[in-house]
């Protein structure tokens, strides 16, 4: 029941969802159709004891779950659940004689037919059945000069106990299962591995030769989540490790920077370029920019959430038209620490290819606007219409305050992309880009490749290339976080 949702990234195939129920867990196969996760109706029938009957004449399918009917119609994204209409983000698809429904069908439609809670956690690829307590646990390892700290962030806050057992520390959570994400560990001999334990509620830290003692500190960085920090200390040291009487341990902070995400980088807003009526650019074979950008944004979100444990929001979750101001307003309203806009490029020269990174150039300080801002309160457009007095920052000059940090961010992105994908001959540029103007945080726009180049159009559509881009951006954000903290 412990699930690690990382290894799938290496493969181009769509990884299955893991269904966690009180009885146990099982995989639910996922098929990628139009860059969306789809589940075969047959597999749902097998997993949830539902039945289905196809009506070829009407082009429909009726599922029966606990005596309730769900009526699906091919290529229509509205389904009827016991007579009630439910909208899906994408229509059911019939392919090779099998019916497929988008993953959101499970929490939106099947859940009400079965009368059971189905919690779909996309980032960890989990489907939790019923009221199970499955907190999300994100681990991080920070190496100090002479010791190592293992930090476990737990959402929602859940009680945890740490027991030492023969070269291992077993962390036991008061939960039914764990939604666990563990980064790769490199630890100077203190930790060999961090892995799921023998029972679904535990995590095991296997200790290395330098470990002698440890100290556990529990804290609550915000009301919604808890944090357990385990400081691992060496055997041979001049300073005897402080035993651990009721010390609130402020000094551990001196050695190990456990502040981590709470200082510089907590929230990331990813902006999948274009959407809805705005297709963006298009490749000669018909690949549409808006679909590629959404797919990459989703991959990146999964990675950031699972490996860095940061909050991630997408400006659009699906195929919808959105104004450029709404995109930066979304980032402002979510108090994002970084805004990343993802696009695909086009050139009249079909030979031109490679990724590029841009940050804003401010063409001219608008004196009148500046004066106006100084005179009176200025408002930022708020999501959902209207405006809200957030800060006395003029929309037009919001990004100008972050240009240096945005330049560093763009630099990190270029560094991280270069070893993974081909770069264009002009990899970093400063341009007057509309979507970045109002972003009140460091911001960059990444052009992940040229759709006008036939080879690159093919590449851009593959999971492998999209994963490379997502990994590079993850890497860049990791570097940027370190940069902000120092």
């Amino acid at each position: 029941m412990l699930v690690i949702g990382l290894s799938f990234l290496a493969s181009a195939q769509t990884p299955p969802l893991t269904v966690i129920a009180r009885e146990g867990r099982k995989p639910l196969p996922v098929t990628s159709i139009n860059n969306q996760d789809y589940i075969a109706v047959d597999d749902i029938n097998a997993a949830f004891a539902t039945t289905s009957r196809e009506d070829r004449l009407a082009g429909g399918l009726t599922m029966t779950a606990r005596g309730r009917s769900i009526v699906l119609t091919e290529n229509q994204n509205v389904v009827s659940v016991a007579g009630r209409l439910v909208t899906l983000p994408a229509p059911p698809v019939r392919r090779d004689g099998r019916w497929y429904v988008p993953a959101d069908f499970l929490p939106r439609a099947l859940s009400s037919a079965l009368d059971v809670r189905l919690d779909l956690r996309r980032s960890a690829r989990l489907l939790i059945v019923g009221d199970l307590r499955v907190p999300r646990v994100v681990s991080r390892v920070d190496a100090g000069a002479n010791n190592v700290a293992v930090t476990l962030d737990i959402t929602p806050n859940t009680e945890a106990r740490v027991n030492a057992q023969q070269g291992r520390l077993v962390v036991q959570f008061d939960a039914d299962a764990l939604d666990l994400s563990i980064p790769l560990v490199s630890t100077q001999g203190f930790v060999q591995t961090i892995a799921p334990g023998d029972t679904p509620q535990t995590v095991v830290i296997t200790l290395g030769p330098r470990y002698a003692t440890h100290r556990v500190t529990a804290s609550q960085p915000d009301p919604a989540s808890g944090r357990v920090t385990i400081d691992l200390m060496p055997a041979t040291t001049d300073v005897a490790p402080v035993p651990a009487p009721p010390s609130p341990a402020p000094d551990t902070r001196l050695v190990i920077p456990t502040q981590g995400p709470s200082t510089g980088l907590r929230t990331v807003v990813i902006d999948p370029g274009h959407g809805g009526d705005e297709l963006g650019t298009q490749g000669p074979k018909g690949t549409v920019e808006k679909e590629i950008t959404l797919s990459v944004a989703r991959r990146l979100r999964t990675l950031i959430e699972s490996r860095l444990g940061l909050k991630v929001f997408l400006t659009r979750e699906d195929d919808r038209t959105m104004s450029l101001d709404d995109r930066s307003a979304f980032a402002n309203n979510h108090h994002a620490d970084v805004f990343l806009s993802i696009h695909a490029n086009y050139a009249v020269r079909p030979a031109l290819k490679g990724a590029e990174v841009y940050y804003l150039t401010v063409e001219r300080a608008d004196e009148e606007a500046r004066k106006k801002a100084a005179e009176n309160a200025t408002t930022l457009p708020a999501l959902g219409g209207g405006s809200r007095a957030i800060d006395l920052i003029l929309w037009e000059t919001a990004q100008a305050r972050y240009l240096e940090q945005s330049a560093s961010l763009a630099g990190f992105i270029e560094q991280s992309l270069r070893p993974r994908v081909e770069m264009s001959p002009r990899p970093v540029q400063q341009l007057p880009l509309r979507v970045l103007v109002g972003a009140n945080m460091p911001a960059a726009l990444v052009e992940i490749g040229y759709l006008s180049n036939t080879d690159q159009e093919t590449q851009l559509g593959t999971a492998a290339y999209q994963d490379q881009i997502a990994l590079a951006l993850l890497d860049a954000l990791t570097k940027f976080r370190e940069f902000l903290e120092h």
Binding site: L324, R364, S424, R434
Partner: protein, 205 residues
């Protein structure tokens, strides 16, 4: 007794003919003179020229030409290459800017260069503010004709901006309008809400 009418005097006929000719000559002079006068923008005032007329090809041989710098996408697609072309001479900065821009919008590039302007792009109008900002008003068809992508949008926008500002160095900035209105962007990337300066970094040296 019959009365014959007196024969018309030759002198009287000559006077009538003379007056007639003079009237025709005067009318011709008046018409051409006025139209010439009207076509000349008053110096020192804000000039406006709201509707662009396509250059009638019939007049082409008669119109004197000047050399102007137009821009085309380089072979690698990353730069704008300045290229000398002949464009019709026009009187006054505004008319000249229009003549250059019309040439730029419709110009065919010589291989291996390529035009960064989508086919069928049309100029609706051009005017200059008292602060020497040029407003270039494009027909909305350019939006649908544009293939998108930041790089391509950048090349299109700066082909226009650089063509105006290189040839008319007294002018400082160009703001692009679309369909007579201020535009957010042409294809979703480059900010068009403010006047843009010449972009030297895109120009191939």
């Amino acid at each position: 007794m019959s009365v014959t009418p007196p024969p018309p005097s030759n002198r009287r006929w000559a006077v009538i003919t003379l007056i007639g000719c003079a009237a025709v000559v005067f009318a011709v002079l008046l018409f051409t003179g006025l139209s010439r006068l009207l076509s000349r923008p008053a110096p020192g005032t804000v000039a406006a020229d709201p509707i662009a007329k396509p250059t009638p090809p019939a007049e082409a041989p008669a119109v004197p030409k000047i050399k102007a710098t137009l821009y085309f996408a380089s072979e690698d697609g990353l730069r704008l290459v300045p290229t000398e072309r002949e464009v019709p001479l026009a009187e006054g900065a505004v008319a000249q800017a229009r003549s250059i821009l019309e040439a730029q919008l419709s110009a065919e590039a010589h291989a291996p260069l390529m035009s960064a302007i989508p086919k069928g792009a049309l100029l609706r109008g051009i005017f200059v503010s008292q602060r020497n900002e040029v407003f270039v008003d494009l027909d909305p068809a350019i939006r649908t004709a544009h293939p998108g992508g930041t790089m391509q949008e950048l090349m299109t926008v700066y082909t226009i901006v650089n063509a105006v500002l290189t040839n008319l160095p007294n002018l400082q900035e160009v703001q692009i309008l679309i369909g007579g209105q201020e535009a957010d962007t042409l294809a979703g990337h480059v900010d068009l809400r403010r006047p843009l300066r010449k972009n030297e970094s895109l120009i191939q040296q």
